[in-house]
């Protein structure tokens, strides 16, 4: 789901409609081959060679501010301690391995920019999960601001691969100008917790177990930047919690949900208290960090009996990682959209019909499939809306996936006092 963005960057209509509202800035970089620099060390069997390059792509919710120096705006310098102000998404590769938000986290994410917001210097220090201080994978790409006139690429994969490369002056070590791509009216946050280190009952068998969570919100871009600790429950379109054992709580079976977050400049979650209960709150999953109302200094847990009286898994003082991705619209080759005729009700004085979406992609698709009614006829109101986002009102079918050929039909009801011809352009995310 989180990488649906990347596969959908070329998607057209909806994207164009929202492009005037928000932009998504993707910065990319490919290092020179290691052989053009000085490879100080390489462990046997690493798969690294003189032709190895490090390719990197980092995503911010907007073009970086101009004239950053040692990232004084995004980061006061030194290591990141707040878990905020890091790219909202990333993909690093040395040609053998890949690092994404699902298996890595930043320790340092410092960049310099020019007057156009292009990256001119950087110190990007990436660790593998789990463990904030456990450098199983460690990549630095940096250039003048921190290492003088040379770029350093260091890839370290304990215990078998190490490369440490200095590039001398004259070697082209630049980041491409950001590709500004349209964003979407929905943002999905994904959380990967660290493995429980305290357990009872069934959580002590098998494993290791860890909490994972994903939720989609109607908040985007600037609305998510530097958000003070806020209850965003009303903006939640869908959510899923899992405990690693297959137990799942989502919007189809939850009796309680609680989403409180604060964010940094890039919209990354910095502090949080996020909870969901199943049909009864005997089954509960929660993650929190530095929140006013959570465990201090923070914990993830899941339990199948209330108040830790039965089976539970627990870890404290070791927060997991959040990543964020705008949700890309489905293309016309993935989702077909049809609508019925609209009938006027003399009782409710509304126009009523249905919209049906069908998965025509040939493979399963992940939801929640909110349908945004863009370009709705002026003066016409969708009266059974789930909410309003950039582009127009939307209806949330509340479905987590669609099998090939499967359809969902939602009811639509419009107020149309002037009896204007009702039209809209539906966009499914």
């Amino acid at each position: 789901m989180s990488w649906k963005l990347l596969s959908g960057l070329s998607i057209t209509t909806a994207v164009l409609l929202t492009s005037q509202l928000y932009a998504l800035a993707v910065y990319s970089h490919t290092s020179p081959a290691f052989g053009t620099g000085v490879l100080s060390y390489e462990a046997p069997g690493s798969g690294l060679s003189p032709s190895t390059t490090i390719s990197a792509s980092i995503t911010y919710s907007s073009v970086l501010p101009p004239n950053l120096k040692d990232n004084t705006v995004l980061q006061a310098g030194g290591a990141i301690n707040s878990l905020a102000d890091i790219p909202s998404n990333w993909l690093f590769s040395d040609g053998v391995r890949q690092w994404t938000p699902s298996n890595s986290h930043f320790y340092i994410a410092v960049v310099d920019t020019d007057a156009s917001g292009n990256i001119t210097g950087w110190d990007l220090n990436l660790y593998s999960n789990p463990g904030f201080s456990d450098p199983q994978v460690y990549i630095i790409s940096s250039t003048p601001s921190t290492y003088g006139s040379a770029e350093v690429n260091l890839a370290y994969t304990s215990p078998y691969a190490t490369a440490y490369v200095f590039y001398g002056p004259g070697v082209d070590v630049t980041w491409a100008p950001p590709v500004v791509t349209p964003s979407s009216p929905f943002t999905t946050y994904t959380y990967h917790g660290n493995a429980y280190n305290t357990c009872s009952g069934t959580y002590c068998t098998g494993g290791p177990y860890a909490l994972s969570a994903e939720f989609t919100t109607t908040l985007t871009a600037s609305a998510l930047a530097n958000l003070p600790y806020t209850d965003i429950t009303s903006s939640i379109v869908s959510f899923t919690f899992t405990d690693g054992s297959g137990l799942t709580i989502d919007n189809s079976n939850a009796s309680y949900k609680d989403f409180n977050i604060s964010t940094g400049a890039s919209g990354n979650i910095a502090t949080w208290l996020i909870t969901s209960c199943g049909s009864s709150c005997n089954i509960q999953m929660q993650t929190n960090w530095d929140s006013p109302f959570g465990f201090i200094p923070g914990a993830d847990f899941s339990e199948t009996t209330a108040s830790f009286a039965g089976s539970y898994g627990f870890i404290s003082n070791d927060p997991g990682r959040w990543s964020a991705s705008p949700v890309a619209a489905f293309s016309a080759t993935q989702i077909a959209i049809m609508a019925s005729g609209l009938l006027y009700s003399r009782v409710t004085r509304t126009y009523n019909g249905t919209v049906t979406i069908t998965n025509i992609s040939g493979g399963a698709l992940g939801g929640p499939f909110p349908i945004v009614l863009t370009s709705l006829t002026p003066g016409v109101t969708l009266t059974n809306t789930s909410g309003t986002v950039q582009g127009g009102p939307y209806i949330n079918p509340g479905v987590s996936s669609l099998a090939p050929g499967q359809s969902i039909t939602v009811h639509v009801q419009f107020s149309n006092p002037s009896n204007a011809l009702i039209s809209f352009t539906p966009v499914v995310y």
Binding site: I337, M338, A339, S340, G341, L343, V347, N416, A420, L421
Partner: protein, 217 residues
Amino acid sequence: MRYQSLLFVASFLCIASLASADLITYDVTVNTSSISGTMGSLDFQFNPGPLVSEPATLQILDFASNGTLNPPPLPTGDVTGVLPGMLSFDNLTALNDYFEAFTYGTMLAFDVSISSMAGGTSGSAFAFSMFSDAAGTIPTLTTDTTDGFAFTVGVNFDGSTTVTPFSSQTTVVPAVATVPEPDSLTLVGTAIALMGTLLWFQTRRQRVPSQNRARRI
């Protein structure tokens, strides 16, 4: 040459097929004996969908009842005619509606005839409603108390229709038949004429060589 000619004829037949529209008719009968004498109202509507609806037309035919129509009717949008005569609707405006006050007898009946084409991304929809007040706000003889429809007919993207009943007093009997429209008939006729011409030429061509052979002998 013969193969090309057949292709030509086949393409004509395809065009004729594309130009055809489905004409679908339903016979509707309503037992209104339980509300006989009630001064209420009737409503017919035929509307497009919000995306791309193919043009479609609908007619109300053979209206019959031992109740009493109470004119004047209140038509809205693209609807012509006056009951008990024929009503004609199209789906080019948002609301194409015929509303008229009516004193119920023990029965009423009419035919709904829909001409539609496949295509588009929106269907169109027809609804018939009965109300127990002249203003048309209190539905009657229906389980659809929300919208008050006695039954609806959805015109689907493939040109087919779907009836959804809400009234146990109302029977809707489909009499589905696909017939070519006059334009299509012309095209089909042209194609048949071409085929006949081809057949005549081929028959003549087959005769000529045998005559030549006879001369050589």
